[in-house]
Amino acid sequence: MTDREGIAVRREAIVPEWVERSRGSLLGPGPALALFGVAAALFFAGAQWYGLTTLPARDMGDLQKILYVHVPSAWIAFLSFFAVLVAGVWYLSTRSESADRLGASAAEVGTLLNGLVLAQGMIWAKPTWGVWWTWDARLTSTLVLFLVFASYLTLRALVDDRERRARWSAIVGILGALGVPVVYMSVRWWRTLHQVQSTPSTMDPSFALGLRLNAFALLFVGAYLVLLRRRVARVEAAVEAIEDERALNAEATRVR
């Protein structure tokens, strides 16, 4: 088989078999992805219903409800970064490409959620504290974490060689995760304003349900996005392989 320019390419290289198989399926490939998508939708619907029907808190009114999304977003972002650490160790010990794809996907989802945490925090802080930003311990360490993983994604974008990119990303991910406790401690010694960390046990039980619903919703959204991103990464890898093959064959055609 040849492509438009008459350069030989294997058909399997152009369309991997599993892409063919999943084509046209409404819920995308694989039962896991569909399951996470449906679960996320259900939990989000429940959380919305809860959020819209419960009475506003006495002091902050509807503003307080941002907490239901804010705190779980932070949890799932941390979980994603932990997955980057695990994927990094997994990659360095087995050199499995799927470990690299997991790390890349989890880092992207974690950075996205981390950015949302910062944005939600600002929306809440402006009317409550009167400022968009303050150099409080938890705000600052969340921002540093965001920057660390943003640089991880930049590194991935700048390294072309697949094997080297995977190896270096694993290393940078591991170091970044190692930095989390150090950043956290240093910033806490530096300055603290933020209220004590919110968990279902530190707050009124009436808040806990909203928090839990959203935590599960975001957990499933996170898992759904990671799986979807891994699928995109597999397609990207297939495209890179085709490009490599094309380049080689084009070279061969010219030589002939």
Binding site: A150, W168, L178, V182, S186
Partner: protein, 246 residues
């Protein structure tokens, strides 16, 4: 073809040519000595970095001064940002001259642990940055009127521990960034977020040493710096083999 700048020099140069086992520590010292020697013989780089640091101190003076109180309060922060920015120039260069003429490939062909290469690069860059500091700190003392001599006993441990952390991570990330397009951007992008705890601890510690700060003095900044150094030196040493695999 020019001879690559690497090779057996310094402590090993006088050794007899006969077969002998070379310990890792000898290897590390030889590598560090090579880098120091390259710097000492070209010298232009050191001068340029010190001049860059001096310029930064002057520009910060314009940005913050001439109010003496403001300058004194900001001095510790200015000093560390100057040191970190200047040392980034040094880290990139430490690999740059290895990449010219394929010297790095030759270095990698030498027997022994790749991680020795990290320690050698680390020690070489540490010597360079400490030398830059030896020039920059007195300059900052004069320009910002800081009691450097009186505070020397408290200042030196903070400077030393802070520099070890900056150089450990800087040498490590430069091993990657120097071999990537857009390396001038990538190195600070990778390095600076990781240095956040170090900047906090080093600046606060320096501020306490120079000016005194009853609140900040309650915290063991030296301990935090030592912990940072221990964690990242160990992690960088263990992971460096994977940086240079190809």
């Amino acid at each position: 073809m020019r001879a690559p700048p690497s090779g057996v020099v310094g402590p090993l140069a006088s050794a007899p040519r006969a077969e002998r086992r070379v310990g890792e520590s000898t290897r590390v010292l030889a590598l560090a000595w090579k880098d120091v020697l390259v710097e000492a013989r070209t010298r232009a780089n050191f001068g340029a970095v010190v001049a860059f640091a001096a310029l930064m101190l002057v520009l910060f003076g314009f940005a913050l001064g001439p109010d003496q109180e403001a300058l004194t309060q900001a001095a510790a922060g200015v000093l560390w940002i100057t040191v970190i920015f200047s040392s980034v120039l040094a880290f990139g260069r430490a690999y740059q001259f290895e990449l010219e003429d394929g010297a790095l490939d030759v270095l990698l062909l030498y027997p022994g642990d790749r991680r020795s290469l990290f320690l050698g690069k680390f020690l070489g860059a540490l010597a360079f940055v400490l030398a830059v500091e030896a020039a920059v700190v007195p300059m900052a003392g004069v320009l910002y009127r800081l009691p450097i001599l009186g505070a020397l006993g408290r200042l030196v441990p903070i400077l030393a521990l802070g520099t070890v952390g900056v150089v450990a991570l800087g040498t490590f990330y430069a091993g990657m960034a120097s071999r990537v397009r857009a390396r001038e951007v990538l190195l600070p992008l990778l390095l600076f977020p990781m240095l956040a705890p170090l900047v906090i601890a080093a600046v606060k510690g320096t501020h306490v040493a120079l000016v005194g700060d009853p609140v900040a003095a309650q915290v063991n900044w030296l301990g935090l710096l030592a912990g940072f150094d221990a964690i990242f030196l160990a992690a960088a040493y263990l992971l460096f083999g994977a940086v240079l695999e190809d």
